[in-house]
């Protein structure tokens, strides 16, 4: 697949574009912490203390990224996620508790892009936000020839072909489909069901279990150390995420 990106847009390294981040959290301390962590990453910060206020602000101000706390007292996290997604295409990073693991899948289906578990470090949040802002701004688009380089792996969807350390890697048709689904949403966590739909079409079923096996096969072929994956990262209980380290 060839991304329809104009060849001119290869800004590397690029100065940070003006970006605005909306923080939706009922706890002022958390808002303060997030604001402190994101200084230097975002040029403007918007804050909302309620879900309804956050949705209104997102519709009015078109932020480039939204940070949403799941534990808002005034509304259900999934519902807010859905409402935000209806009004904005900005990436949504959810702040969640570890015990809400079962909820995560529903959140991703509702349109969330990523999550950070409380308590988080400033560094961790900053890294996530930076990655999503860069992706949203188009800084990580493919090269002019449509290829993507991650470490020693070069993926070219136009041929299609994958080389690892200069030697060709053979991928089956299903493995290609899976890789494309992951790369298309790089940086985003794809749930098992989303990946399954992208590769095998509609529905669910027993075949879903094979997704794990295809991921393993893909890792065997692409990863330097398959048990310490760097390209295809597992989000426990949720799905997988393709990680492209930002180019230096």
């Amino acid at each position: 697949m060839v991304r329809d990106a104009p060849a001119a847009v290869v800004p590397s390294p690029s100065p940070p574009r003006p970006s605005s981040v909306l923080i939706i959290d009922d706890e002022p301390q958390i808002r303060r912490v997030v604001r402190a962590a994101l200084e230097g990453e975002a040029t403007s910060l918007l804050e909302a203390g309620t879900g309804a206020g956050g949705v209104a602000l997102a519709a009015a101000e078109h932020p480039d990224l939204i940070i949403l706390d799941l534990g808002l007292p005034d509304a259900d996290g999934q519902a807010i996620c859905r409402a935000l997604r209806e009004r904005s295409r900005a990436p949504i990073v959810v702040l969640t508790a570890r015990h809400a693991e079962a909820e995560k899948i529903a959140l991703f289906d509702a349109g969330a892009d990523d999550y950070v578990t409380k308590p988080f470090s400033s560094e961790e949040l900053r890294a996530r936000v930076r990655a999503h802002l860069r992706r949203a701004s188009g800084a990580l688009r493919p090269e002019a020839d449509g290829s993507i380089t991650v470490g020693e792996v070069i993926i070219d969807f136009s041929v299609p072909a994958v080389t690892r350390a200069g030697s060709d890697v053979h991928l089956t048709r299903t493995e290609w489909d899976l890789l494309r689904a992951l790369v298309d949403h790089d940086g985003r966590t794809m749930t098992h069901a989303q990946l399954f739909r992208a590769v095998w079409g509609n529905g669910s079923g027993d075949a879903q279990q094979y997704l794990r096996v295809y991921v393993r096969n893909l890792r065997q072929k692409l990863e330097l150390d398959p048990v310490r994956p760097r390209l295809i990262v597992t989000e426990p209980g949720v799905g997988y995420r393709f990680v492209r380290a930002p180019r230096p």
Partner: protein, 565 residues
């Protein structure tokens, strides 16, 4: 005992029949017809009058006339007053007949042998008639008495069922027993559910000061009766008697009659002050009924019969109180559970917010080069880990944790586990061995998140309890129907005596260095999570020193997988 037992005993009406007037408290009063002495005198006068009348016209009467007139009077007296008067008048009439109306007059001599026939036939007819009339009447009285008893039991049953609270129903039963059996006080004790303790559930007494079983000995008797299921009494002199257990309450005999067999005179032969009856529901002793009278109990057969029937209501009342308490207990447990969940959720949320602030701020300060801030962040992480473990443990032990086993791949799990511990095991070598059969992946049926947590706990445990220079080995292989994850370290191992205890919550090895973090929850949680998905977690000493913890989850065969997609 059965409520129907007493109906059997009515086949022998005997002399003890009430007059059937039915007032509470008079039931079972010994037989006594309260028809006054005036009636007796009246009938005697009537006999004298008809004798005198017939004497005046004696010449024109024959034996048949005299016999019929006398018979009329005797039947009337028998029906009106009773058998005794009837028989008495019959005897008197017999003599008068002979004296005045059979020649020779004025003497008790009979010359014509045929007159004997007349006299004997007359007397026989009178006696039989009096007896028949008496029996008919007695049966009518008995039937009426039964009707009253049944009415009372029916009313009691309805009241018992209608009473709003179970305790009130029991109180009503005690009051009815006291009134009906005519005692000073009546108490119902119940066995505490799940305990052997006996508590007073209802008490009905005439006045507050009346003596209940305040004496220690009587309290002990209640326990004895509840324990052995036999009756007991306290005699007027304060000594107590217990029934032989061979002749239990459920024998065909009325209360106490069984004791008559074993002790000769029986429990009711000696005047007693207090009576203890075991209360049963379906052969289970649910409580004890006691009745007492300061002046001594007056228990006639019919009162005992009624007491039996009423004690059945008391047993049902006790059972109802118990069932209500059981339901209330279950409700209380449910509410406590809800409260605990609310507390868990609140603790989880309210601790996390300040921890997030502390961690994030410490992290930011540490970035500017203050080593102390790094320590603050580490400690915040440690506190968070402890809280999470506590919450997990209470959730698992309360049964509130639900694992969702599904097909998952072993290397995926290993990768996620290594990723998760990477920050904490920095600088430590983890040697990973995945033993696959050719190119086939290792697949199992397990909950990814739970198994990940268990594996991470094992890795952290190995990291804590082994020298920093030694590598930790993590290997995965298929063992028959199991997928086995083995975490091996070169620590000091676990002494034989401690091997089961290491999986108990809050266990810390005696030789644990004081700076090792954790509260001894990791292995306990890991084992609980493994067991929850039909897996296991075991310990073995490692060859050459150290420990091997093996986490097993059910393996899965994917023989029909098309690898070429």
């Amino acid at each position: 005992m059965s409520i129907f037992d007493w109906s059997r005993s009515r086949r022998s009406p005997g002399p003890s029949v009430s007059d059937g007037t039915g007032a509470v408290g008079s039931l079972g009063v010994p037989p006594a017809h309260h028809v006054g002495g005036i009636a007796v005198i009246g009938w005697i006068i009537a006999l004298i009058a008809v004798t005198a009348g017939m004497l005046a016209v004696r010449a024109r009467l024959n034996e048949a006339h005299v016999a019929l007139v006398f018979l009329l009077v005797i039947l009337g007296a028998s029906a009106h007053v009773g058998r005794t008067l009837g028989l008495g008048l019959a005897t008197a009439a017999f003599l008068l007949f002979d004296w005045y109306f059979l020649p020779p007059y004025g003497a008790l001599i009979i010359t014509n042998p045929l007159d004997w026939v007349v006299l004997i036939a007359f007397f026989g007819t009178s006696a039989v008639a009096a007896q028949l009339l008496y029996r008919a009447r007695a049966q009518a009285d008995a039937a009426q008495a039964r009707t009253v008893e049944i009415d009372r039991l029916a009313v009691l049953g309805a009241e018992t069922l209608n009473a709003g609270r179970a305790e009130e129903a029991l109180l009503a039963v005690a009051a009815v027993i006291r009134g009906t059996v005519g005692v000073d006080w009546c108490e119902v004790y119940m066995r505490e559910p799940g305990h052997t303790r006996i508590v007073l559930a209802a008490r009905s007494s005439g006045d507050q000061a009346s003596d209940g079983p305040s004496v220690v000995a009587e309290g002990q008797l209640v326990h004895w009766v509840a324990e052995h299921g036999t009756e007991a009494t306290v005699l007027m002199d304060g000594t107590s008697r217990v029934a032989s257990s061979l002749h239990g309450f459920d024998g065909p005999s009325v209360l106490g009659a069984s004791i008559a067999q074993s002790e000769g005179e029986g429990m009711f032969a000696e005047p007693s002050r207090v009576l203890f009856l075991p209360l049963r529901v379906r052969d289970r002793i649910v409580g004890v009924l006691t009745i007492g009278a300061a002046m001594g109990l007056d228990l006639s057969a019919s009162r005992r019969r009624v007491l039996r029937a009423l004690s059945y209501y008391a047993a049902l009342g006790v059972e109802r109180v118990r069932l209500v308490r059981d339901a209330e207990h279950a409700e209380a447990l449910r509410q406590a559970d809800q409260l605990k969940n609310a507390v868990l959720a609140s603790v989880s949320h309210d601790l996390r917010t300040p921890l997030t602030t502390i961690k994030a701020l410490a992290n930011a300060i540490a970035a500017s080069g203050d080593a102390r801030a790094a320590t603050i962040e580490e400690e915040a992480d440690r506190l968070n880990g402890f809280v999470e473990n506590l919450l997990d443990l209470s959730r698992i032990q309360a049964g509130g944790h639900r694992s969702d086993p599904g097909p998952n791949e072993a290397e995926d799990l290993v990768g996620a586990a290594l990723q998760r511990v990477s920050g904490r095991t920095a600088g430590r070598d983890v040697i990973v061995t995945v033993s696959t059969d050719g190119d086939a992946p290792l697949v199992g049926r397990f909950d990814f998140s739970d198994t990940l947590r268990a594996l991470v706990n094992l890795l952290e445990n190995a990291y804590k309890y082994s020298p920093a220079a030694s590598p930790i080995e993590l290997s995965v292989c298929r063992e028959a129907q199991w997928l086995a994850f083995m975490v091996a370290d070169r620590g000091r191992g676990v002494p034989d005596a401690e091997r089961d205890r290491i999986f108990q919550p809050f266990y810390r090895r005696p030789d644990a260095p004081p700076d090792v973090g954790g509260a001894g929850l990791g292995l306990s949680i890991a084992r609980s999570l493994a067991v929850a998905q039909d897996g296991s977690l075991t310990y073995e000493p490692r060859d050459g020193g150290g420990s091997v913890f093996t986490l097993r989850v059910p393996a899965l065969d994917l023989s029909d997988l098309e690898t070429n997609g």
